[in-house]
Symmetry: C2
Subunit: 199 residues, 2 copies
């Protein structure tokens, strides 16, 4: 098996296992079993477990970037694009109920571990935050675009956390419905600061 190929298999398996069982709880033995290689072979491709985490986050950043670009191609208006973000909670409902949000749960774990990779994991949030902010700016909400982006990020994190803990599907659907309603109101009603700017 080629150099690149085995490395990619390791990162793919680690990506899945870190999501399903957590970073610390996932051992080399678990990944090795999934990839069908020996434990010693890891250290040809990576110098440490931290380096595998680094590669996993880099992979997730690339996948997220690609997804956001695809949303921009598929949806022409900012409101449609933000709807794609909200609907993630429905599209990925099954894995979210079982394992939570891949971004939120990783950041939460690395914060507890006070792990060096924490800052890099947070850039996953930043990627969504900057993308959402751009959409709200395009909606004419320049003055509070970042606050709206953070609000939406927080709302979706709350839904994922509670859905994962209590396993309530109806709660997810209800909250997604409310988020769509909230988005409609954001579009139709200008913010305080926008009105002040016009005055």
């Amino acid at each position: 098996m080629g150099d690149k190929q085995t490395r990619d298999h390791i990162v793919d398996a680690a990506d899945r296992l870190f999501y399903e069982n957590g970073y610390e709880h996932t051992s080399f033995a678990h990944i090795a079993e999934s990839v069908k290689i020996s434990r010693g072979n890891f250290y040809y491709h990576f110098r440490s477990k931290d380096e595998i985490l680094d590669a996993v986050i880099t992979l997730r950043l690339a996948n997220t970037q690609r997804m956001l670009e695809q949303w921009e191609q598929e949806a022409q208006t900012p409101i449609e694009r933000i709807r794609k973000f909200i609907d993630m909670l429905i599209v990925n409902q099954a894995p979210i109920l079982r394992h939570g949000c891949p971004v939120g749960t990783l950041c939460t774990e690395l914060a507890k571990l006070n792990h060096a990779g924490r800052a890099q994991a947070n850039t996953l949030f930043t990627l969504f935050r900057a993308w959402l902010k751009r959409q709200f700016v395009a909606l004419g909400r320049k003055s509070d675009a970042d606050a709206l982006a953070m609000h939406l990020l927080g709302r979706s994190q709350g839904v994922a956390t509670l859905a994962n803990a209590l396993g309530d599907q109806r709660f997810v659907r209800r909250e997604v419905q409310q988020l769509h309603t909230w988005l409609e109101q954001v579009v139709s009603i200008p913010s305080d600061s926008e009105r002040k700017a016009k005055a």
Copy 2:
């Protein structure tokens, strides 16, 4: 040192360390160092680490119950009581920024570990949920009291998760302000189902 006393010290230290560094990451050695006892002495008071977790959750349930009862004494109206819940995000802002929500982060971790104590940890959420539901019923929102309780729980979880990851104090204050505004609207505007019931 008395039997009960040492046991309580162990549970108190474990409670704090589980919150600050996570359940799995906290070892007997860490707790022992904090309580100033030997590792072997644990097994006079507990049969396993799982049993310490059990005791910690039981302690948190009792503390939460006591806090909710105190809120009921301090605040006479349901809306004032719900405001106490929302203001938890301000009162506990410093620990939340550093370690997240004690309930949410524990449930998230135990879900990843597929740990037996998961169901018991979720009852911490249930305690808040049932209490909030009662307040919304008292506000005259009988038909959607549970949905409102879950919504508020989710919102606060999202704020805590994002605040912990990105360490944004202004975000917390802004979201708390919005939650108070949301609560005012809940009080002033009857729900769809309430209006249907009146028609």
